[in-house]
Symmetry: none
Subunit: 411 residues, 2 copies
């Protein structure tokens, strides 16, 4: 069986962490100076590993195997959230690097082709999932021209300043690249709660993001009797209670919905709010349930407008994101590898978070595996995973990768 080198794996992860290290966490926003330095280092490590590696025209680091196909692409992202953890994305990329090395050091697998990718801007500093979207052939030129970061820097200018704008962009090679594997931290608490070490991902959930605007009548909070108020904030609160009941009736244990932001207008203690906005996100692995939740919400809005003196309007914030199923055959390779390396310590589960794998799945079979997040915490400096789990996860991924490639080569 292919054996990874735990010391080399951890050393590379810690070296990558040093780019943007901030206390226990990392601040390495896409295409920032420290992110660009990390990409140069990563490309160098890939070349030392025998890959043909470069930073492409959007910033993705792509390390192409010098072996002929069929090739397995292993990837994730090395950019972070504004207050990011050290493993979110980074772990999957260094897994790919270590797996390419480990397969190259084993006579039974030396001939196999593993490409390794660090997709640019998964976290959306400029435009989420940009690297994988460019790789699968989505037209991203308009995005590159228009996208800006929070500081208002234009993506096009940043790519020019980094000397990347005129470089070729990594693109999917039909026929050669036949499968995609993305190892990642869970970013939730399920594996930890159940005492498991590996999650084999079945589906990446879909999501809806909506804004509900309530419109009443702004008035003085002392001189307007309760009986004649049209308080948009009070209406919003009443609506959420009804919505929770409706969603609970439709939900299963994996369905989630979140009101992440509420704005009352004008937001003063002495003023009855005349308008109120709530920002709602809900996610589920089942497209039928997502539609049912949308319909239930639309029904609540109709009823509310019919019954109340405060009106409510539903606005969609982003394009709906539909659930994406992972390839069952590839998932089976991961499950078998997990059972071989860590008997009984794995389970099937959906991914509640979005990942590049949902984009790559448009052009080739894709799969994902998770390792536990301590306390289920992510997108936070204190995000972490036990070193034993990091090492175990890489060994499972390496074993799965070898078995996928041997099966594919055997076709």
């Amino acid at each position: 069986m292919v054996k990874i080198d735990p010391d080399r794996l951890i050393a590379d992860l810690k070296w990558l962490r040093s780019f943007g290290a901030t206390g226990p966490g990392v601040v390495r926003l896409s295409l920032s100076p420290v992110d660009l330095a990390a990409r140069e280092w990563l490309a160098g490590r890939m070349n030392e590993a025998g890959l043909d590696a470069r930073i492409d025209g959007v910033g993705t680091v792509f390390g192409r195997s010098r072996n002929s196909g069929p090739a397995l692409v292993i990837g994730s992202h090395t950019d972070t959230q504004p207050t990011g953890g050290w493993l979110d994305g980074a772990m999957g990329v260094i897994y790919g690097l270590e797996i390419a090395r480990a397969l190259g050091e084993n006579d039974a697998t030396r001939h196999l082709a593993v490409d390794v990718a660090s997709w640019i801007d998964e976290e959306g500093t400029f435009s989420g999932l940009l690297g994988s979207r460019s790789f699968v052939g989505e037209a991203v030129d308009a995005t590159i021209r228009d996208a800006t970061n929070r500081q208002g820097e234009r993506l096009e200018d940043v790519l020019k300043a980094a000397g990347l704008a005129d470089r070729p962009r990594a693109r999917f090679e039909a026929g050669r690249q036949v499968a995609y594997l993305e190892p990642h931290i869970e970013q939730g608490g399920r594996l930890e709660a159940l005492g498991k070490s590996i999650g084999v991902v079945t589906t990446i959930v879909g999501l809806r993001e909506l804004k509900l605007r309530f419109t009443g009548q702004r008035n003085h909070a002392g001189t307007t009797p309760m009986a004649i108020r049209r308080d948009a904030g009070a209406a919003l609160v009443a609506f959420i209670a009804r919505m929770n009941d409706a969603f609970k009736a439709l939900a299963d244990a994996d369905t989630v919905w979140t009101v992440g932001r509420i704005d009352l207008d004008p937001g003063a203690m002495s003023v009855v709010p005349g308008a109120a906005d709530m920002y709602l996100q809900f996610r589920d692995a089942n497209p039928v349930r997502l539609q049912a939740m949308e319909q239930a919400l639309a029904g609540l809005v109709r009823d509310f407008n019919a019954q109340r003196t405060v009106g409510v309007e539903l606005q969609s914030i982003d394009e709906p994101i539909e659930p994406v199923s992972m390839d069952a055959t590839l998932a089976e390779h991961i499950a078998r590898a997990a059972e071989a390396v860590a008997p009984g310590q794995w389970l099937h589960m959906p991914s509640g978070a979005a990942h590049d794998a949902q984009v790559i799945a448009r052009c080739m079979p894709a799969c994902m595996m998770f390792v536990p997040s301590i306390g289920g915490v992510s997108h936070d400096f204190i995000e972490d995973t036990a070193e034993a789990h990091i090492v175990l996860g890489c060994q499972v991924a390496a074993t799965a990768a070898a078995s996928m490639l041997l099966a594919l080569a055997g076709r």
Copy 2:
């Protein structure tokens, strides 16, 4: 009888409106650049009217009569809500200016002393009723040191930047200042509904202002199952429902409570809120009911902390404000003036809104009079009063002011 000049009155009101005019409304938050400019203009107009006027160490514009006492103080405020109307406060201040001028132009009243005040920050951009509290001798140094506005600017820094910090503060002159009159728009719909033109105020209701902070656990909105969430925003919404039930059981028809502002932290669609703040205000004319509502709220907080995984903490935002009775003798002068100027067009009524008069009443007899608000609307850009009512109200106030001063001088 003293005659006010309607054209001069309306012209000054419209000129003041031009500082911070926003559509039909006004945005003139305490000590903002536009508010400071308005105060400079107002002090100038007061000096032209023969008063000895200056902006004091907290920002109050005080115009002292050059006549010897006994003096009547006529005042209100020229700061506004974040989205304020053009007459809320401003009308009473310009009434004072016009009445000082009108009495000065009449041989029978030229010798009488009218001081005119625009008290700083009645609306509580930094700390509500600050100017009148400073005037009556309340210790406000700690408030000036600690208070901040919504942008986090410190009151102390803002006063320094405006060059006011080292100026003397206007203070009550015992013996000289013997009565206070505050004319104001009603900010409610009672006068309009009953077809009356003048309200003679009997009592100003008391109020409580509280902040409730809910503390849970921030987490990823996609990967954190509903069952293990500690969503501070969801807890806040559940708390409001319980609070509404408890308050309804205690309220009478004039009891009011308002959640004017809600902040979820961090306020992002993809993050389960880890903290949530709600700002609550409630008002009533009965001090016993106000205490009962406070006790009910404290009980809900205790129960909530005992039953939930999200904690809630109750914080007082401002000192409790108890109901305050207006001086009956001064009110009788207003009633007689109203009957003389507008026979049968006036009534006695409570004030559901807080006013500087309730603070000034600590050091001298105080009274208030109202003119109608169109549609009962205030704290809104569309707040307005018929010009005929504005002019009528000023004539009633001038007649009442002369009659108060002649009676006081006669003592």
